[in-house]
Symmetry: D2
Subunit: 295 residues, 4 copies
């Protein structure tokens, strides 16, 4: 079985490296060919176009930035679609629009191929270490077929429903992440204004009903004024844009999510887009003229 | 050492019963004397007034509904203050105003006594089973003195700072609880509108960056349409009122907390105040005309 | 007919001066007696206590800061209540709690007197020039009896319902003022970011469906960076506190009003409480790192 | 001078009829040719394609639904661009994206023609009666050239800045309209809960600092439960989508605008998209379980 991987960004490189390490026969492609160097040196074949990649492989993995990039890689003249045919399978690890995903799946189905949307969480570290959490949408048989491949970089692979469901679950995930982050921001601001010891406060509440991953992991980072990103505001905002588009299409009101989107936007304007998503607290700090610091 | 307990509500009864069981010499008092019956039968002495309770005990525990109740029990003609004197210690387990707490502490200090504010989390179950989490504010020596007593019903006892800090930490706790709850509400609404399997979605995201106690514990309850309270909307709203008063005194903007307060209010108007705080989702459901159900 | 006026603050002074000018027989009282000097020099009698004021006058006007002040002036040992009796009428021009107003009215009714709540809009200028708009709640007969007196400083006097209604209408008024102000803030921020000429933009839209008093009057002031108050943020916030208390008592969700309350609070923390309520725009400017200026 | 008009929707029909009535030599085009019948009968020539329309006219007016429609009419094989050339002028009365407008203007400039964006307010009634307010962006000379034509249906024609500015001002206008509408909604809900006479309340406050076009015109309609649209929720939401896209591009936080967008979305889900934009109050009513009615 031959495996293709399109997109040698920070995520794709890590995943493809793990595929090679696991012994798969891997062919790669990237828009800017320079980026294929390191993995080619490690033993990967290199395709000249997505069409060639699709034509020469059985399962083609994909990880690029956003919806238009996936559409470009798929539908361009020398795109994946031109090389796909009966029995081939595309697994898209990008985080993109759920409705666009369904259109992409429909298009490849017409040439006899299949599409699985499989966005990940766990960041570049997870891609390198092979500890990603993968939310997969598509036919069960397709996902089972891809599972041994994805296990090269995924710690957990959950089949969440038909095609598009992976993207929807990822969006649900992001809603939780950012509103939990807003909770941490308001909580720490109140704690600071109230004269509390911030470390002791986090310690006292994180184990109970107030607990969250964001509080336990990003709370201390905020108090340390450490803005290194697990996930940047720019990427978070890109994902929230997908969430808000879905909410619009599906006519669901998401008042807090949209509030966070407004606050992140203000931080982007201030040039903080490359900081971690927990820098959300800075929007409230700026508003209040109060910093959540130890002193 | 003689222990007093004022307030035989659902929380106080459980804590006092654990004190008796642990072998302490316990005297109790309640505004409506009928409620003292069961514990008196179990061996507790009964005081006629808070003043008598304070006069006859070394450490006096207190758990009543709200700030005015604590003030009444303390400052009334036959209130605690009338019986307090040098070396006595009051431990207030009620959730009340932090600034009122500081005034109460000042008043008892003038007669030589001390005040510890020690709000709890864990509900009536925690009080009965002795598994409460206690956030204590006050002098370290006072808290150490009360610690062996509180261990009769507290699983964890954290000293979080000077008097009033216990109440502030409890408020910070409530901010996190309600906004994390709002996150769960928006996330499940989006999941439902997007056609996802709700159980699979919660399962897929709860272990990662989107995880929270509210998601893991109240998420499934929402999908089951099980509105039995861990903590009722009415009580949550009472606590949020304290939070918003603090925020006002301290001039801290809390946009999401205040949004939740508005949404809970709407549910109270609809007669849902006795349901669990996770029924917050009903406000968004009502707005959207969409229910987060399995079908 | 003898007229009393309690409260020689900036509003009360202006109104009382207009009463003297209109030829009424006026007695005044103020907590700090120094403030009674100018009007005494202009012909007003001075009472030593509110009780004496009430005993010696037929209709007693009142304008103080907040609910507790009105309660103090009324219920203190030498308060109004001690001097009121059958046939006397109190007209309260303060902006205070509607439910407290109903309790005050009940108390004076028990001694045979009446209460009219008559909050005003139009500011200190309106009080001086006699151009206030007065929203009066109470019995029609009482309002008719007070009307000739109020006409000394009121341009319009509207009977809006039973006692307490004047305060409620004032609160409704404030909801509109602050949310319309928020509209102006967001609109001008978008205009600025979009590179528009701000004066031309206000001019182009203010006459149509987008028009409001706030836009026409405060919009240009914002563009001029002129923060002189028609109504200060501190006073606005005090009034919003009354609104939010009512909303809580009445269980009405007011998401935008409570958002403005949060934003004003942040400005107060930054020391801007004495600026005009249109300085709300600064909260959004601070957030966005963008100023709504001509350059 | 020959005038073209592309788009015989409810707005375009009215404007083109006024052009004929004013004596202009008018050629029309519509995607579905049936709709050209009535005006052809009234004397308008009919073009087979936008290219033909552009080729045969000096100034081409345009009014279609949304950004993609304008792009289609302009860039399609037989689109306007194919018929434009030196000295021709396009005046776009559609409400569309400001940034797309700048791209459209750039494209027609390359063939020697000009673009004016001139969104209108005043609805279909305004189009018929010739009383539209027109916000025009573009070169002053172009706008002056089109002014005599636009005067056939425009009561006011304001030049607000360079190309794209008309669209931006329209967006600013919409921000004001919807937030002022939110103000009316919260105010009337509070008034109702507070037991006020709604008509008297509107009357008492509309003339002062709380006043707005929305309050004066839509307030009474709400109390009458008259949901006939001046402007429908569906159209309002389409325009807010443009606003939120601009805000995203320009990185401006618009918390209240985005809250309204969420609330309208909920109403669309409930099937109320064809009601007037003042039906926003229904979102809060639904939430509160309270209707703003006279009884």
């Amino acid at each position: 079985m031959k495996i293709g991987y399109a997109g040698m960004g920070i995520m794709g490189r890590g995943m493809a490296a793990n595929l090679l390490e696991a012994g798969f026969d891997v062919t790669i492609w990237n828009r800017t060919p320079e980026r294929t160097g390191p993995l080619a040196a490690a033993g990967a074949a290199v395709a000249a176009t997505p069409a060639e990649l699709a034509a020469s492989c059985d399962i083609i993995m994909l990880c690029v930035s956003d919806t238009p990039d996936v559409e470009e890689v798929t539908f361009a003249d020398e795109g994946l679609l031109a090389g796909l045919g009966t029995g081939k399978l595309v697994v898209d690890h990008s985080t993109i629009s759920a409705s666009a995903t369904r259109r992409l799946a429909e298009a490849v189905r017409e040439v006899g191929a299949s599409w699985v949307d499989a966005p990940v969480s766990g960041g570049s570290e997870g891609a390198e270490r092979g500890t990603l959490a993968i939310m997969a949408g598509g036919d069960a048989a397709d996902i089972e077929r891809a599972r041994p491949v994805m296990e090269a970089y995924g710690k957990s692979i959950t089949h969440v429903g038909p095609v598009g469901s992976g993207q929807m679950v990822k969006q649900v995930n992001q809603v939780l992440v950012v509103i939990n982050g807003l909770a941490v921001s308001e909580a720490l601001l109140l704690a600071k204004a109230g004269g509390l010891d911030l470390d002791a406060t986090i310690e006292a509440v994180k184990g109970g009903g107030a607990g969250s991953w964001m509080l336990a992991n990003r709370g201390p980072q905020i108090v340390d004024r450490d803005w290194r990103p697990g996930f940047t505001i720019d990427l978070q905002q890109k994902d929230l844009r997908l969430v808000l588009e879905s909410a619009d299409e599906l006519a669901v009101p998401l008042p807090a999510t949209s509030l966070v989107f407004q606050l992140y936007r203000a931080l982007q304007r201030r040039g903080l887009g490359a900081e971690g998503n927990h820098a959300l607290v800075k929007a409230l700090e700026e508003l209040a003229g109060l910093e959540v610091t130890r002193e």
